[in-house]
Symmetry: C2
Subunit: 200 residues, 2 copies
């Protein structure tokens, strides 16, 4: 297979079908996309199910009243859930596109275009998921530690389950960001391999 | 120049020097890196110079006392400044690398490697700057609007200058993220051009 490729490269032929190594790369890409789907969905579900209600003593009443903590009380968490939903949807669409390349092998030219489009979208998603992770992480940190300078009290001493959910969700979302980073590296490497094979 | 390239591609030659269009792309890349340097430096300086002291009536004293607002009171803003400093440094190093390619033209193979390394680093920086923008933006939004559910009061009605600085800094940092996105697109397109030229 390799010698066939070399021969094609030497003769300057354009239509070089995806060989074993390219298929392996697409397979790894597909696996990473499945992982991305799981991570995005998990982060989203864990955040959405973080709601917790506790009996809290307030200044208004002489008895403890039930006060809920919900993710949609913070715009940062709403953006987080929206970004992760989008990432879940994207992982499905791009996963289908990846498997389509395995099922229906195409020429080097088509593969090149496919990878370039994939990288462009992956990078956009990376920016969005990284920003969402940062936003939710920043707000979660205030919830965990508070900020005495501006009298923002920590809430994690009261809402334990809520904070565990938010923390886990941010951690899984960070993992999703790393997966997107890996996907970009993989696609760029695939473009490099396709190009390098013919340039050298 | 174009016909020379075509002839080289047709004969399957590897060593194709960077022609006019490639140089144009490298020049755009360099301009974007200079812009990235300016944006990162601006965002960092505006955040660092946001300190403001106001006379605030507190519960402890019967008279107003000077209470400062500093960016380093929030870990989110410290991370923001660190990330933007890193981005400033990176834009200098990668800018030098880009201009080195203009000054000392190299083969297509070397250019290909250069772009792949550039994309990998640009993507890493994008993830970092986007996360920093999100983190600082999330905390700044609480400062601007507060959160009545957890009794986090807004501070922007008191610290006007501080909030304007933080807001402007986050906006410029968002612009820096877009610049990094553009740089990744440009580098991927350059790799595609180099590869496509020889594949087709």
């Amino acid at each position: 297979m390799e010698s066939k490729e070399e021969a094609a490269a030497e003769s300057g032929k354009a239509e070089v079908g995806p060989e074993m190594c390219t298929l392996k790369l697409i397979f790894i890409d597909l696996c990473l996309r499945i992982l991305l789907f799981s991570a995005s969905l998990t982060a989203m579900v864990v955040m959405v199910t973080s709601n917790q209600t506790k009996l809290v003593q307030t200044a208004l009443y002489s008895f403890p009243v039930p006060v809920p903590a919900k993710f949609n009380y913070s715009p940062a968490y709403i953006y987080f859930v929206a970004a992760l939903s989008f990432s879940t949807l994207y992982s499905i669409i791009s996963g289908i596109a990846s498997s389509w390349v395995i099922v229906k092998p195409c020429s080097s030219k088509q593969l090149l275009k496919f990878y370039v489009i994939l990288v462009a979208h992956d990078v956009l998603m990376l920016g969005m998921v990284a920003a969402a992770t940062g936003t939710a992480g920043g707000v979660a940190y205030i919830g965990l530690k508070g900020n005495s300078h501006v009298n923002w009290n920590k809430i994690c001493n009261v809402y334990g389950k809520f904070c565990r959910h938010v923390g886990a969700s941010v951690a899984v979302s960070l993992f999703a960001s790393f997966l997107l980073l890996l996907l970009v590296f993989l696609s760029v490497y695939s473009v490099y391999r396709l190009a390098h094979k013919v340039v050298t």
